[in-house]
Symmetry: C2
Subunit: 503 residues, 2 copies
């Protein structure tokens, strides 16, 4: 999900941080396939890429599940792929859609497609209200806080519950099958919360890269940017130090009109910098780029917003080896590094500092959610991280939210609603986290009980495990997926065993 | 709670059925006390009556926990009694207030007062929004569906969660103590649901006489009235048959103006009957009287709306021994029987058929709740029960609701939200039911798991176990309370054991 990197930024740019989901499947060379299928026979099939064939459906949902005054409904979109589904002994894998177009998540969650056959699973991808086509008030959905009033995680979970009851009622053979919730990032939080709040509807949840503790004081606000920094530190000598030096270099250039012109030209910006606010935006945009790179630091080439090489931070760090050169040289190196992210294909004619992420993500919707329920504190100190120091300022954040959306955040609410760290009474949730992923700082990375388990992937970035299998997958992610499948199979077995007991 | 006895009734009278909570403590004669303390040493103290000393507090709650557009708050009332509370090793018993003035529930839930000392417990009684003084929009709260839009069980549970977090934060010593939810009837459903949805906030729940399955098709719609009938059948020869015969007798009288006058005079009605609708109302009012009697068929004198004798149905049935007398004689006998309920004290000058229950209950609020979330199907067939046949007609019910409140019921919602019969993944809930209580038909009366347990009380009416101890308590209710305390002590021990493990 996008980090609410609001600290000292104009409200229009509140939420440009990218949240990047699993990328398209990469063709697996035959030799690697053989190796893989040898070692991971249960999770690999012989196909290198997975065809994404699904049907598109809509369900009428109440706009407000928690009130009866307005009895309006809207059309929620969902996708079904049942090629491998078996009515006898099968299962339903239910993707708890997050902040974006559901077809994008569907096409980018290769893991579900990869395991469908062995779990005899129907795949369902449910779009989150206020994203993609699932707009409660059509193109008026974002006009004001009145129309946005039904954009909450609770309403989204209720949509999912109603949808599953509907599927079980209308699809012959689905009624007596176990449903497993799967999601990544915010969708991972939803998957975990769905199991917590609707344990009668899903038998378990795989919550990948779900920072359910990135709220209140549950984790230090600096943890996210410290992990970003660590990723750069480990990817090349002096890399994080060079980035740390760059901020002052920019500040020094920004003191004069000539300096601003130099920056605009040498960074190839589409729009020239003219004032202090522009410089703030530039630094925020560069920060977000480093953050995005940390999230998508995958071990193989991938293609999101724009194509990226394997281990992109290593590539970036090749340009950032020396923090002690002149300001001009240092910033020209930074520009080379930025180009790895923004212009790997070599086709960008200039860089646009108002964009960092794919248009498939609903940045408006997430901005509102971050301003209401999803209040995630972020901070930097410039010592444990490579960024300019910014403290977390809730009051300022609240003012920005009020200006932008006419609402105030309720930072304690999510913890009251979903339990914070006190969740041990729940069962059957897998929390998976990549150690390279900055979001892992707010995630569950240690087992809580036998059935609330943590899986960590040392070489993993943002929910690498949910991506399609790839020849360059590190062993640790193969292990993680294998464990995840083992748990899911156990939940399915338990479900059928209980069902037999009843009859 | 009031049963939504809507079948064929005018909407104004939708919900007059009484829901009666535990009555005031009765003085225990010394001899009985000795006997009791011998056999139930853990649950009895030497005091005969319990003084209800509490302090009154208010907390600002969000009117809408699930939306951010309107950021309005209201004052929720709650009561605290901490005479027996120990900061060291103590506990918090939290009464999940239901549809009425919280002071009434506080004064009528003697069980909590009786066990406070042995559990070293602070007692908290939280008023349900839209009842008592806890009105989100003051005296405008019931003006229309817009103002009523925040009257739901989900909002009420959220109030409870926020309140407990507030108490733990503000009362020194409360932070690291286990909280147990306790409630009866609708409050019992709330207690159970509270544990299901907020298991991080309460370690367990005692749900007394909570008909959590009286929704959809989970139980037959006739079960409630069958139990009412059984109560009359067992309380005297020909008693239920006599009542069954009375409806036709009334119908025959109602055919003529003279008959209507005869009925009005002989039944001592405050307002004379003039038309068919009045006669419908009369029969509904009589039915509700029998229902109320079934709920409060306690083994000792009690004083609710009006004073009642011990085993009131037995007293009533003394007048209803012969179904084969003339219509006039039969109805005069019915009148004698009604007087047991309405005029035990002998002070009523006439009977008012628009009232059956205490004014401490918020009938308006419950009527709205029954028309939205709390859709409980009731029906009779005149064969398995002693009433005129009425089928459950959702469409008609929905029309009535729309006319009265401008809202439509969503009969499937509660099951989607709270799981219906599929609740085995939860833990630490006691479902207690009296077998005389018509609500037990929609309750959990068999163990679901080791920690989702059912306690049945053969001689118990509506949550007898929550009432103050009484010398005439049947052994089965003493046993029930003793078991309840044993479970609660176990939850408290588990909580402290877990806490020690963590530190």
């Amino acid at each position: 999900m996008p980090a609410s990197w609001a600290m000292g930024r104009p409200t229009a740019l509140l939420l440009l941080l990218a949240f990047l989901t699993p990328g398209a499947a990469i063709r697996v060379p035959p030799a690697m396939k053989a190796l893989s299928s040898l070692r991971w026979s249960t999770s690999f099939t012989s196909r290198g890429t997975v065809a994404k064939k699904y049907s598109i459906h809509y369900i009428q949902q109440k706009v407000n599940h928690f009130g009866f005054d307005a009895d309006k409904t809207f059309k929620q979109r969902y996708l079904i792929a049942d090629e491998h589904w078996k009515k006898n002994g099968g299962s339903i894998l239910f993707y708890t859609g997050n902040e974006g177009d559901i077809t994008w998540f569907c096409n980018n969650t290769g893991f579900m497609w990869d395991v469908a056959a062995q779990l005899k699973a129907m795949l369902v991808f449910a779009e989150h209200r206020y994203y993609g086509e699932s707009l409660p008030f059509g193109n008026k959905s974002f006009t004001d806080s009145r129309h946005l009033d039904f954009l909450t995680s609770e309403q989204a979970l209720a949509d999912f519950a109603v949808l599953i009851k509907h599927l079980k009622k209308t699809i012959p053979g689905a009624k007596n099958q176990p449903v497993i919730a799967i999601g990544g990032s915010y969708g991972g939080m939803l998957a975990a919360w769905f199991r917590m709040k609707y344990s009668h509807i899903v038998v378990g949840a795989l919550a990948a890269s779900a920072p359910i503790w990135h709220f209140g004081n549950l984790v230090p606000c600096g943890v996210f940017m410290e992990i970003v920094t660590k990723d750069f530190k480990r990817s090349g000598p002096n890399c994080s130090e060079t980035i740390r030096s760059s901020w002052d270099a920019i500040n020094r250039f920004a003191r004069t009109g000539a300096g601003l012109r130099w920056l605009s030209e040498n960074l190839d910006l589409c729009t020239a910098l003219t004032n202090t606010q522009d410089v703030q935006n530039l630094k925020a945009w560069i920060s977000e780029t480093w953050i995005n790179l940390a999230m998508v630091d995958y071990p193989y080439e991938s293609d999101f917003l724009q194509p990226l090489p394997a281990w992109p931070i290593k590539v970036v760090c090749q340009y950032l080896k020396n923090p002690s050169v002149s300001d001009a040289q240092l910033l020209q190196n930074i520009f080379q590094a930025l180009n790895v992210y923004y212009n790997y294909s070599g086709q960008a004619s200039c860089l646009n500092i108002s964009e960092t992420t794919t248009s498939s993500l609903g940045t408006q919707g997430w901005s509102y959610q971050a301003c209401t329920e999803m209040v995630m504190p972020f901070c930097t100190n410039g010592i444990d991280d490579m960024f300019e120091p910014h403290s977390w300022n809730l009051r300022e954040f609240s003012e920005d939210c009020f200006k932008q959306w006419g609402v105030r955040p309720r930072p304690a609410w999510i913890i009251t609603m979903y339990g914070g760290k006190n969740i041990s009474s729940h069962t059957n949730i897998i929390f998976s986290n990549g150690e390279l992923d900055p979001w892992s700082g707010g995630g569950v990375t240690k087992d809580i009980t036998d059935t609330l388990v943590a899986i960590t992937i040392p070489e993993g970035a943002h929910h690498l495990d949910l991506r399609a299998r790839n020849a360059f997958d590190p062993t640790t992610v193969l292990l993680a997926r294998s464990l995840e499948v083992r748990h899911m199979k156990q939940w399915i077995r338990d479900f059928y065993a209980n069902q037999r007991k009843k009859h």
